[in-house]
Subunit: 397 residues, 2 copies
């Protein structure tokens, strides 16, 4: 049995380089950029009117003028114009190019317009209401570094520089494998001693959030069958997520079969609760990583978030989310097991408080819908106190 | 011009009842349940072994026995068995049904097994290591109330009760409309006075997070064309999200055209920065709601999160996310405009601190990728102080 911190470190030592691929921008949401995105031109690309009103040359103000004959109109989408007479003005709309020899925009609210002449109602500052060429960013500047996760704002930036196709990190091919003869499909009616699959469906759904479309496979508790299937699966996928079959039971063949198939055991059993019988290994020749989680719903769900998600982040070269919260209860955690306790998070005046969720053991599937995640409590002599700061692993936003 | 709080309230007064629909469970992630989900049987459905080991009847302990002949094996997926002799034991695996006349499970770690006889190494407590029938939930109990958002954990619960199809709230049919003659498509090379579309693409991406597949349409700044197109769009969609065309410019036809088409103006212009020229209206006969946002990227993005997302939550009957954060800077916000300031959030020992993000006006698209959202600062005489608690609208997790 190894310590949680060591298990965590060992998982992160066995990341995969998954390579990159081109995808259409429309398919890019939630993916990780594998290229640096540069400004292809200045932002904004021209001196841009920031308000609707008129554009003037400030020299006219120096000459003491406070009314200006309107000699034309500039709207967004029109090529740049030029004041014929620098003592005149051009009516200008937000987003339009400021005329070549104008340098100041005055909004309608500060003007009186009559008979084609605009008269100032307020003091004017040279250069006002112009969103200057290159003032946000100059051409060639980095807009999005490599390894950026593409959210809605990044999506807009990619569009603005014409990236209709983008290079992103490939996602691992994941096979989610359930084991256990007691399991039946969701649309079947279980006999009294059977239950429907749920663990692998939770994993399947959690993977969807990471944009991974996993394949689901069920293995019956028959050693020869398991072996035959796993030979093929190990060759086909980058990652296997198994649920069940790793405890000390007579039908817990998984570790043995995996080792037969030259999946090197990195560790088996971690000093943690829930999730202790976790088995982790690597098939180096095939570059396949195997997370074999215990079969209880809370154990599988916890270990997926505790180990697999950080592994995925590290493999994709993005930061592992780190959160801290304040414990809302006193909790004793005696050695040797690290405790992952389900909590509900409450934001109270900007402080994140973690309220323990009642859980009837690691078989209690229903506790997972009442919690936002797990606090990580390493074992120690004295109890954790109310208000103590502890690490938090979010499972539910 | 109306106050921000009034604008917000008015938007929430005009929600839509979108109805419900059946979808396959696989399509349900991120959707909102429109039915209550009950336990279809007890959870767990039988007295379930929580460990690998042996099952005994505790009367045998009372009789002073501490070793038990193994008379059979019960593994997960096997029908319930029965001890032939209550002084014997049955070897039992995690997840298996506890034999009818057994009431206690002892794990292998606390046993010595030799020649088909298991001998206790440790004191035993009657009823231990059994996950009792109905101890998590009894048949008929509510597992998931109506209006629950389906995440990975909920997905597992739905599977466990056999809901391969679920009734969910319908999502609105949304049309995202860009306006402005300066805009060209993402895959086009803009002329010097043109820019590529980005606002509507950010909206399109943000809507995808809500599982809404929006339709995008571009309207040229031609009044007759806009009107003709909008007649059709108003009939076809539940919600219109427009970007641009609502300021005071000569080509800002949108409010006028919408009112011509019997879209009742609820308000136009809100005392807020950015996003002031926001126009909001309702076509009652067609049951279409129109959010017409100003064309600047920051304004559009802010108003989508400030108004549309709460409107969507309320229409779907789910809670509007409420977050508070601690200001990391002193900020003066003079009347009359409510300020939505972009911030980056840092979790420092469980406290959420909001650090202002430099933003070069509401045309600065690139500021959005550096921030996590907006703090809402209502105007007032004295400045906001460092450490003050303020509402936060998250745009980026």
């Amino acid at each position: 049995m190894i310590h949680f911190n060591d298990a965590y470190d060992k998982v992160l030592e066995h990341t995969l380089d998954l390579g990159t691929e081109m995808v259409a921008l429309n398919q890019g949401l939630g993916r990780i950029l594998a290229e640096t995105i540069y400004a292809d031109r200045d932002f904004p690309p021209f001196d841009r009117a920031a308000k609707d009103g008129i554009a003037i040359h400030s020299d006219a103000l120096k000459n003491g003028l406070d009314s200006f004959r309107i000699e034309g109109l500039a709207s967004a989408g029109m090529p740049q114009q030029k004041l014929k007479d620098v003592n005149n003005c051009i009516e200008i709309m937000t987003g339009a190019v400021v005329p070549r020899n104008a340098d100041t925009v005055i909004m309608y609210e500060h003007l009186n317009i009559e008979n084609g002449v605009a008269t100032l109602l307020k003091q004017v500052k040279k250069g006002q209401e112009i969103h200057c060429k290159g003032s946000d960013l100059t051409s060639g500047a980095v807009l999005l570094p490599e390894n950026t996760r593409i959210g809605a704002a990044e999506f807009g930036v990619l569009a603005s520089v014409g990236k209709s196709k983008i290079r992103v990190k490939k996602l691992p091919k994941v096979c989610v494998i359930s084991t256990g003869n007691e399991l039946v499909e969701v649309d079947q009616s279980p006999l009294p001693h059977q239950i429907r699959k749920s663990n692998v469906l939770s994993l399947y759904a959690a993977l969807q959030k990471e944009k991974i479309e996993a394949t689901s496979i069920h293995l019956k508790d028959e050693k020869a069958d398991i072996k035959k299937e796993l030979i093929h699966i190990l060759k086909t996928y980058d990652v296997l997520l198994l649920s069940g079959g790793v405890s000390k039971g007579k039908f817990d063949f998984i570790p043995e079969v995996l080792e037969d198939l030259e999946v090197e055991k990195i560790f088996h059993r971690v000093a943690q609760k829930p999730g202790k019988p976790f088995w982790f290994g690597v098939q180096s020749a095939l570059k396949t990583v195997v997370f074999s989680f215990p079969g209880n719903p809370v154990s599988t769900f916890a270990n997926y978030h505790i180990y697999f998600l950080p592994w995925l982040c590290r493999s994709l070269d993005v930061g592992i989310p780190q959160e801290e919260v304040l414990l809302d209860a006193s909790v004793a955690v005696k050695p040797p097991l690290t405790r992952f306790m389900q909590v509900k998070i409450e934001n109270r005046k900007g402080n994140l408080w973690a309220i323990p969720v009642h859980e009837n053991g690691s078989g209690d599937l229903t506790s997972l819908v009442r919690s936002n995640g797990f606090v990580c409590l390493n074992p120690r002599g004295n109890a954790y106190e109310i208000g103590e700061v502890v690490p938090f692993i979010r499972t539910n936003p």
